[in-house]
């Protein structure tokens, strides 16, 4: 998995999401998640930086937290928080809005 990590922290999402399901072995992912093996440990390290929320898949091992995951709103609790006072982030956000002059 480490080899698949690209320079800008994007990882091969297809293999991360589907795991070994696409390679013929249809071992249930659920069981795999509950087995706390080393390969999973690596999986979560790789995910840092790119799609940050993916690393929280590890938390599924904990039944209570996993149950909390059963709501789409969970994203609010695990989101990466950004400093919207930062000039870079503010400019990036402003670029996503229609220009004020166009609106007028």
């Amino acid at each position: 998995l480490k080899n698949k990590k690209s320079s800008n922290n994007f990882v091969n999402l297809t293999s991360l999401i589907y795991g070994d399901k696409l390679t013929g072995s249809s071992v249930k992912k659920e069981n795999k998640k509950q087995a706390d093996d080393d390969s999973d440990e690596e999986l979560f390290k790789v995910k840092k930086g790119g799609f940050g929320s993916l690393k929280l898949q590890k938390d599924l091992d904990n039944e209570d937290q996993a149950n909390a995951l059963d709501t789409s709103k969970f994203i609010h609790n695990i989101k990466e928080t950004h400093d919207f006072n930062s000039q870079d982030i503010k400019e990036f956000l402003l670029s996503k809005f229609v220009d004020k002059n166009e609106l007028e």
């Binding site: 249930k28 659920e30 993916l54 149950n67």
Partner: protein, 359 residues
């Protein structure tokens, strides 16, 4: 029969099982917990599924730690009423009905009683303002409606919602890759059994944050009193950012439950920042509705569907895995490094509403 372990993603599995017609067995449901087995809201969810289907077999063992679910036919129907309880919000149940309703024998008309707005599930306002527009894109247009009869805040609820869903012979494939630019922001600041000043304070603060980005911000205040206000006090804010291509991104925050020591101004700011996070993450569909859009893409006719999503949530990831298990569909997943979004493409399975009486 598909076999799973644990209580995770219970709803997803029951929904996929009902749509695909594949039975499931879930074992070890909280078997290590002090209170083992299914929770009250999960049992309530199964009762609701039983009400809208015909021929469903649900077997739960004595301790509630093992469930065998053999799906029947979705029949839908009018004048269905369901008590959702006070553990989870009404949206927990409505989200499932949205997935199943279009494929029923007759249109669905359900009245659900319980909590309309809480901080665990999506609020009914977000479902109405962002989820319904998403599914309209798949061809469900006329007759799809959510009406809030009474608002109900936690802990006692007392809210009531009417949900109507039309039936369709099949869905329509979509191509939703152009996010466009945010052209306006709309919102609702609501309050039940508290002073009308509360929603005004919330919306003033949120508006202050959002006006830095666009001048077109309009947030309405919705104050419920008397019989319409449910049994507990509460207030909150739902925000929706609409883009030039018709996409909607939403965020919401709820206060007044007593657990958080938060002023209305802080809540307003938190909601505005949550919306900024959604906009920052990008995509044509917000994080709350990713899984629903992916499910409907799978159920589309045998045609290519394509959508652009922002940061994918753990819930969505598990949904994608379940879609593979139940329907055998694999998505082509292409990260777009410039916009930090992900494009999902799949070939629909050509799912048809076989329960429908006339074609």
């Amino acid at each position: 029969m598909l076999k799973y372990q644990g209580s995770t993603h219970f709803r997803q599995r029951v929904i996929c099982s009902t749509l695909s017609g594949r039975p499931i067995r879930i074992t070890n449901i909280r078997d290590q917990d002090e209170k083992p087995g299914l929770r009250d809201y999960e049992a309530s969810f199964l009762r609701l599924i039983d009400k809208i289907t015909n021929g469903t077999k649900i077997d739960i063992n004595v301790t509630g730690t093992t469930l065998t679910f053999v799906p029947g036919i979705i029949i839908g129907g009018k004048n269905i009423s369901h008590e959702c309880g006070t553990t989870r919000g009404i949206s927990y149940f409505v989200e499932a009905l949205i997935c199943l309703g279009p494929f029923a024998k007759v249109p669905l008309d359900v009245t659900l009683n319980g909590i309309t707005n809480n901080d665990i599930d999506l609020t009914i306002d977000t479902i109405r303002t962002t989820t319904l527009p998403v599914i309209r894109k798949f061809g469900l247009e006329e007759g799809l409606n959510i009406k809030i009869i009474k608002r109900g805040a936690p802990p006692n609820g007392g809210g009531s919602v009417n949900f109507k869903c039309p039936i369709v012979p099949s869905l329509k494939a979509i191509q939703l890759v152009d996010e466009g630019k945010i052209r306006r922001i709309r919102g609702i600041a609501y309050a039940t059994r508290v002073s009308p000043q509360f929603p005004n304070r919330v919306l003033d603060k949120a508006k202050g944050v959002l006006l830095e980005f666009t001048p077109d911000v309009y947030i309405s205040s919705d104050h419920y009193r008397g019989n319409e206000s449910g049994l507990s006090p509460g207030y909150g804010l739902t925000l929706v950012a609409e883009t030039t291509t018709g996409c909607c991104l939403s965020a919401e925050c709820m206060g007044g439950s007593g657990e958080k020591n938060e002023t209305p101004e802080e809540l307003g700011e938190r909601a505005a920042i949550s919306l900024m996070e959604e906009i920052y993450n990008g995509g044509c569909i917000d994080s709350h509705n990713q899984s629903l859009a992916l499910l409907f893409m799978v159920l589309c006719p045998e045609d290519i569907s394509k959508i652009r999503l922002g940061k994918i949530t753990p819930y969505t990831i598990e949904y994608i895995r379940n879609l593979f298990d139940f329907f055998g569909v694999t998505f082509k997943i292409e990260p777009d490094q410039d916009s930090k979004t992900v494009v999902f493409t799949c070939l629909g399975i050509g799912f048809k509403n076989m329960a429908r009486t006339t074609f």
